[in-house]
């Protein structure tokens, strides 16, 4: 496993740790077998910090997000190991009622397809008011809803509307308003702009970035879009096949990606200023997690694969400001004669 000591994260903003995942493993049981979409993931988010989690579809990044509040799109999923520490308190040990009080109040979520995450038969105002009521903030709820809607660039009149009367971008603004309703310490945004039109994506992203600054939010941003990462994140985790393979401050990640998988991801991004032909980014597809590859999970697709990659699991190793899990660096360090 890539579980590593909870060392001080590189490039941390210095704020208090808001969220810390320690070796979290989430399992989905089905008749076809057991799958661990999140396998020993550790990450930290500090106050006021925007942390990105990137990876392909199926890398487990969304399941990592769902693991924090233990809310999954399927009943078959469950966190089976690790700790989810919110300001030092392990959410995995909370009773259902205590966990409910955390949801939407201390930790709020923003989802991908905002329209489908709003109940079609309730007005959007009613849905935000319910949230305020659930956290004993019923008094002045209507005023608060109007204020929130204004804050995300909507008119208070939108409160009386049903989701189908709003555009995708407006729905996502409602989703953001709901996330901010109870002034949470941490917001988890799962692909918040993916389902939107490109022009709307930029607006929503700017809104999110502005609100994050204004409210000094800790934001855990799940995305496959490296453009989004470059624009808003402070620090990035790269996930592959349920594990974290690299962690770096955002500028380091783009300047000097260390893991071959990260290098492949970045190579897949079209560089308009450097119009050379795009390289075939990464060959193959994400492995079937019912039977993950041995050793380094990326080795069947890795262009630099070595014999030991298929037998030994590489640990996350800190080099400079970047931590990455790859035997190549070990080789490189060894050849320079510097012990890791």
């Amino acid at each position: 496993m890539t579980a590593s000591p909870p060392a001080r994260s590189p490039g941390a903003s210095g704020g208090d740790v808001v969220l810390e995942l320690r070796a979290v493993t989430t399992e989905i049981r089905s008749t076809r077998g057991r799958v661990r979409p999140v396998d020993g993931v550790s990450l930290t988010v500090h106050a006021g910090e925007v942390v990105g989690v990137v990876g392909e579809s199926g890398s487990g990044k969304s399941m990592t997000a769902f693991s924090v509040l233990q809310l999954f799109p399927t009943k078959a999923a469950r966190v089976i190991a690790g700790e989810v520490l919110l300001a030092g308190r392990d959410l995995l040990t909370l009773r259902p009622e205590a966990l409910r009080r955390v949801r939407g109040r201390e930790v709020a979520m923003i989802f991908q397809d905002a329209a489908s995450y709003l109940n079609p038969v309730l007005t959007v105002g009613a849905q935000i008011e319910q949230q305020l009521q659930a956290h004993d903030m019923a008094r002045g709820a209507q005023v608060r809803v109007a204020e929130l809607l204004r804050d995300v660039g909507l008119t208070p009149e939108v409160a009386k509307r049903y989701p189908h009367e709003l555009s995708g971008g407006q729905c996502q603004r409602v989703g953001i308003a709901s996330a901010l309703a109870c002034s949470p310490a941490l917001v988890i945004a799962d692909e918040p702009t993916t389902a939107l039109d490109v022009t709307i994506q930029a607006q929503v992203l700017r809104l999110l970035a502005r609100l994050q600054r204004e409210h000094d939010l800790a934001l855990l941003l799940i995305t496959h879009d490296l453009g989004v990462v470059a624009e808003v994140c402070d620090r990035v985790y790269v996930m592959y096949a349920g594990q974290i393979v690299e962690e770096a401050p955002v500028e380091r990640l783009f300047a000097e990606p260390q893991h071959p998988y990260t290098q492949g991801l970045l190579a897949g991004v079209l560089d308009l200023l450097d119009p050379k032909p795009i390289q075939a980014a990464i060959k193959g597809s994400v492995p079937d997690l019912r039977d993950p590859p041995s050793g380094c999970r990326f080795h069947p697709r890795c262009p630099h694969v070595m014999p030991r990659c298929s037998s030994d699991v590489p640990p996350l190793v800190l080099r400079g400001e970047t931590r990455s899990a790859c035997w190549l660096h070990d080789e490189a360090d060894a050849s320079q004669g510097t012990p890791t």
């Binding site: 409910r100 949801r103 939407g104 709020a108 038969v121 509307r161």
Partner: protein, 329 residues
């Protein structure tokens, strides 16, 4: 109701639907009339009885009721009188059809509405209960109950209920509308009436409880997997509020549809149940009219049943529009 739509729009919609229903009702009358004129049996023979009457007498009776005219002529006359609010005269009961049917309609509606309310209430409660714990013992029980409800015919269930509760146990009356021999007043009369209703309502509602249970369970299970349920949980709503305020609210839409749909079948079912329990309602009257070839009564009942079904459909659509803001009208 959203800002853009009001009760005014809904009223206009209802009126439009009612106007549109007029040609439908006329069509129903024509089809029913033609079907009955095609049916075997002769009302005159039924009226006179198996008595070797002289042919002149038979012809006289036939002419007296206008049955010597051609089908188109009779249809035209019938339509003419229906438009004037006259449903004709019952051969067998020697009474205007409208009076006869109106007198019995109230009793049938009492039976039907009680059935709809009971079936909906029990069905929704059982369905929610089953959906909250899928594949549990409760769920298995509800599923078995639903299967039984689907499979058991009303008239058979009615007879079994009579056998058990009236004949063997003697708890409840075997049939009838109210006690004939005793004169009850006030609450006693209500209780007497209720005692007579229990078995027929049970027999009639069993199937619809089953249908509603299954549908509620299925609809709720599907809705509870929706993204917005996950989102409601993520906002910190309790499971109870997620279930009642988000789940059932959204799951109610197909349930409303099926209640309206059931209503038409309950009309048919009530004919059987009224016959079994000797409940003097429209169903029983229809059954008798078929045997006595009392065509005006039969036509009148079919007309009222059609109008009832059309009205119930309209009410269902309005309820649906009120429950689902996405419905346009």
């Amino acid at each position: 109701m959203s800002a853009g739509r009001g009760t005014k729009a809904l009223g206009a919609y209802a009126l439009e639907r009612l106007v549109n229903a007029v040609p439908l009702v006329l069509g129903v009358i024509v089809v029913n009339f033609l079907l009955i004129s095609l049916a075997p049996g002769d009302p005159v023979t039924a009226l006179i009885g198996e008595f070797p009457a002289p042919p002149e007498y038979v012809e006289r009776v036939r002419a007296q009721y206008g049955l010597d005219q051609s089908v188109p002529e009779r249809l035209a006359r019938y339509l003419g009188s229906v438009v004037r609010g006259d449903l004709g005269f019952s051969f067998a009961n020697r009474q205007p059809v409208l009076d006869l049917v109106a007198q019995r309609l109230g009793r049938t509606l009492l039976l039907m509405l009680t059935t709809v309310v009971l079936a909906t209430f029990v069905g929704v409660v059982l369905g929610v209960w089953a959906a909250r714990r899928p594949n549990s013992a409760v769920d298995g029980g509800a599923t078995g109950f639903a299967l039984a409800g689907y499979s058991i015919p009303e008239f058979w269930l009615g007879q079994i209920l009579i056998l058990v509760f009236a004949v063997w146990l003697g708890w409840l009356p075997a049939g009838g509308f109210r006690s004939i021999r005793a004169e009850y007043v006030g609450l006693d009369a209500v209780w007497d009436q209720a005692r007579h209703m229990i078995l027929p309502v049970l027999a009639l509602s069993f199937r619809y409880m089953a249908i509603t249970t299954r549908l509620t369970r299925a609809s709720l299970l599907e809705v509870m997997n929706a993204d917005y349920i996950l989102a409601a949980r993520a906002r910190g709503l309790s499971e109870r509020r997620v279930l009642w305020e988000h789940g059932l609210r959204a799951a109610a839409l197909p349930i409303i549809t099926v209640i309206g749909y059931n209503f038409s079948f309950i009309v048919a079912g009530s004919a059987l149940v009224e016959t079994v329990f000797g409940w003097p309602g429209v169903g029983r009257l229809m059954y008798d009219s078929i045997f006595t070839r009392d065509y005006p009564v039969l036509l009148g009942i079919l007309l009222l049943v059609s109008i009832t079904v059309i009205l119930v459909n309209l009410v269902t659509d309005i309820a649906y529009a009120l429950a689902d803001p996405r419905v346009r009208y």
